[in-house]
Amino acid sequence: MAEAHPVGFQWVMEAKARGATIIHVDPRFTRTSAVADLHVPFRAGADIAFLGGLINYVLSEGKDFREYVTTFTNAAEIVGEDFVDTEDMAGIFSGYNAETGRYDPISWQLEGVDYEAPAAGMRDHWEPELRDETNQSEQGRQREHHAAIGSDTAGGAGDAAHATGSPRRDETLQHPRCVYQVLKRHYARYTPEAVSQVCGMGVDEFLAVARAITENSTRDRTTAWVYSVGWTHHSVGAQYIRGAAILQTLLGNMGRPGGGILALRGHASIQGSTDIPTLYDLLPGYIPMPNAHLHEDLRSFLDADAAKTGFWGNMDTYLVSLLKAWWGDAATAENDFAFDYLPRLTGDHGTYGIVRDQIDRKTYGYFVVGENPAVGHANGKMQRLGLANLDWLVVRDMQMIETATFWKDGPEIETGELRTEDIGTEVFFLPCANHTEKAGTFTNTQRLLQWRREAVHPPADARSELHFYFHLGKRIREKLAGSTDDRDRPILDLTWDYPTFGVHEEPDPEAVLAEINGYDADGNHLASYTELKADGSTTAGCWIYTGVYKDGVNQADRRKPGTEQDWVAAEWGWAWPANRRTLYNRASADADGKPWSERKAYVWWDAEQGTWTGHDIPDVEATKPPTYVPEDGATRQDALSGTDAFIMQTDGKAWLYAPAGLADGPMPTHYEPVESPVANLLHEQQDNPALERIDRAWNRINPSQSEVYPYAFLTYRLTEHHTAGGMSRFLGYLSELQPEFFCEVSPALAAERHLEHLGWATLISARTAIEARVLVTERMKPLRIGDRVVHQIGLPYHWGSNGLSTGDPANDLLGVVMDPNVHIQESKVATCDIQPGRRPRGPALLEFVESYRRKAGVEPGGIT
């Protein structure tokens, strides 16, 4: 954190100055480790073993925050009899289909609940079975089940959309099948000794962490976990986060000040681009994109994907308001508010699938906007082959990045795999405005929207994206005007009239923000998403952002100095939702609505006034008393009781055990990375049985535990560079501060492979070989895993061939295997060999890499 989010780290240091203990768990010793109370080195990819070990410690020592657990979680609920844990199935849960490589989660359900909704992207898998079953006699429940698990939720709206009935509970937590006991058994084998073996950390070190976090998680104290893509870039990435969620919930650290699980996101508005998603599977505000299957109309979509209880029960109001924002008067009650204008999904259309389709020439055009996939994404060769097989490519950037120039100086030109003259891609490089040349909001890592004002005008042809897409849309609409083709109705009926200003007709970003916020029937700016209606009388471009333009005031531009506010600083910018700074903060008070302690008071129930109050906006209906009990058949938020703090969940509970919502199991389980130097010491199953692969010549995978690729490597960022380097390698100061690509190796590995400090090394995987300067450092520690020593190599991934500071891209070394929930690649750990000296040049490089593949028994590589 000190390296990649330096200014955020000042708050960690503030906490330390006030007595907090800082523990840094990271394979590398970094600037964070240097100021931490304890640095725990460990093996990349072993995080679930570590987190599972902590969960086991909490449960076996009875250190959970019992009152919190019984009040706010599903610990007491009984898991159905059909569920079989990994303990009894060689590391695999019940419901696994070895042929398809996927799970049917029906056996994971809770007792007394009919069925619950599924993970993202699984609908395709179930669709054929659904159709088959329509011909069978016993359709009823089965059919509904598949409809349910085939829905399109992405971890948001539809999780448990279909839960009907109340699960059986055992408040004593003694029932052998209650969640608490199931969890306890699942993690029983994650003992301190096992953790030590798998992770390569000392038993003492592990116990020091376990004691520190449990002693610091009480009524009076809270513990926070901070992570970044070191947790998400794995073939079990979503389960890493689940592991932390279980631990933090058991310890009572969610929804409380100083607690939580804090994702440090890496780009100025990566949070915003998830909220208003430039992502294929989501609509704004985490509404799932409709699938082709069962979503013929709005009603069937809501039936399949919207929860009936909790705040997702209002998805009809969010969605209809979105459709009204987009299609205005053309969206009517009669035509389902133009619901069928939305295109439909049929499975995974994530970025790696798109690139595969580019290589296969199934898709023809590509806009790349402020991103540099040619060097910034895993398996650079795959990315560049995609670019080379396009009809046309539009790159919008400030600098001449590698993605724009792949056709003349990409690595494949040097090897002779591609020839410039043979590449048919038409490339448009369009210069973009920078952050001082346009106004707009970024959403930072804590969900805070902050408005930037425009300081100067962009030079020459440089334009904002707002300008480009607005005018592109206008141009397309002009060209299609008068079309009678049905498929052109959505684009012609689109609301696309933003006021513009200046000689370049720049659209007014405040007008766009106001549309995102939404209006009522009279054209007034809405103040809250609770005002949204499903009858078409309101609009909102992104329901979670409703309120950012409350009273016609740009709330994101509020700039009351921090020194003039309390520590919550609620009058700086605007946080979604409802300017709430800590989510689920109802849990900061006990069942009766009283703060867990004076020291940790955050929001509480004021019985006299009959309202919730406190330092933050309470994350519960303001006048719902802690004693509230829902009536039978209540829906939406009314179905949640006064102690149901997790209001987006259908049952209002934090899930220690997830009966639905994940594609790879109801509880996190340690699986080795696909490319691992060691065997899985905890379970028979080596890697995630449900992970996703792309089996192609340009994406060969190193065999696990291969002597040809014996070392683990991990990629990371430096303080002085930014992602793929487009905003840093072209700048003098930053290039001076970190002038060259390097690899970090331990003195032991340097001795083993004859690597010289500051000399050159070549790193080889089944994809390619790259070269880097050698940094021999004690910061990398060899680890003992089982009966062998594992060496890890650190690779900052910022480089490419263009700019002031150049070098080979670390991402070229990586292959693509993906987590089945979110289709994110495993790029934080893989294997390679390392040899002294520079890599071969030209066609010799191909032969060199092929010779490694042959030795390792890997199929030949290639570009098709």
């Binding site: 990649a4 989010h5 200014v7 996101r265 890496g266 780009h267 100025a268 508005s269 998603p277 430039t278 992502l279 013929e296 987009w326 204008y341 295109p343 439909r344 994530g350 970025t351 798109i354 898709t363 055009g365 590509y366 991103e371 910034g376 046309w392 600098q399 003349k408 038409e426 490339v427 448009f428 369009l430 210069p431 920078n434 001082t436 707009g440 930072n444 929207l449 902050q450 930037r452 300081a455 440089a462 904002s464 994206e465 897409y469 607005f470 141009r475 060209k479 959505p490 689109l494 766009v512 992104c542 100095p561 921090g562 020194t563 700086w572 002085e720 905003m727 700048l731 100061y733 501060l737």
Partner: protein
């Protein structure tokens, strides 16, 4: 070392704000403002030189001032030349200071953008921000060089199919060509239904990548436009 970075590094180690609040710095600035600082008016300089006598001349000699003045170590006033005395921070001459946010990572540090004659002259941390309290890291501190980079490309470049060099292209022509290509790719990649008759109403003809460095308003227009075109393949860094 670049002054902005230097300030951050030094102040960071001193446990102070990475960027000293600008008003203070203007009044008490004794540090070198760096090679590209804007010097104060020449006239002022010349007038001073004209009224110099011998004593003044001697008094301008650094070693004399060091030996006789209050700066025996020669680390402050004693070693300043008229030129260095005349130098002021870029920030002092700004026409306006515009509130902004750092474009790099998601901490979201506040920035003050100093503008003179319609150009950005300096970017500093915004002390008002409760997120960053005036600090910027090396990247944020390098923002001035990001927005004034000499290698920045500001005109449209075009590479025709199989071409070996960039060509220039008029922006409006480029926009028009891109609109044609979108319409064409959309048509070629269009799917009304799949082979089992399920309604798809979409195109796989083209796709988009990017968003994490863009504004919410911009992502909103991209998503809205692509959905209306039936183009489902919209992705960004969040999945990378």
């Amino acid at each position: 070392m670049a002054p902005a970075v230097f300030n951050t590094v030094v102040a960071g180690y001193l446990g102070q704000a990475g960027s000293i609040p600008v008003r203070l710095r203007h009044k008490h600035c004794h540090t070198s403002p760096g090679p590209d600082a804007v010097p104060e008016g020449e006239n002022h300089h010349v007038a001073r030189r004209a009224c110099m006598g011998v004593r003044t001349w001697l008094g301008e000699w650094p070693i004399f001032r060091q030996a006789t003045g209050p700066d025996p170590l020669g680390r402050g006033a004693a070693v300043q030349s008229p030129r260095t005395q005349a130098l002021g921070p870029r920030t002092a001459d700004a026409d306006e200071v515009v509130k902004s946010i750092c474009p790099y990572c998601a901490v979201g540090c506040g920035q003050n953008v100093y503008v003179r004659d319609g150009r950005v002259t300096q970017i500093e941390g915004d002390p008002d921000s409760p997120v960053s309290r005036g600090r910027l890291c090396p990247k944020g501190s390098a923002s001035t060089s990001l927005v004034t980079s000499p290698s920045r490309v500001t005109t449209v470049k075009y590479r025709r199919p199989h071409g070996t060099e960039w060509e220039d292209l008029d922006l409006d022509t480029a926009l028009d060509m891109i609109a044609d290509r979108v319409i064409d790719a959309r048509r070629r990649g269009w799917q009304d239904t799949d082979d089992e008759g399920r309604v798809l109403r979409r195109t796989l003809g083209f796709s988009s990548l990017g968003g994490a460095t863009l504004d919410n308003e911009e992502n909103y227009l991209i998503k809205k436009l692509f959905m209306a075109l039936g183009a489902i393949q919209v992705e960004n860094q969040a999945r990378i």
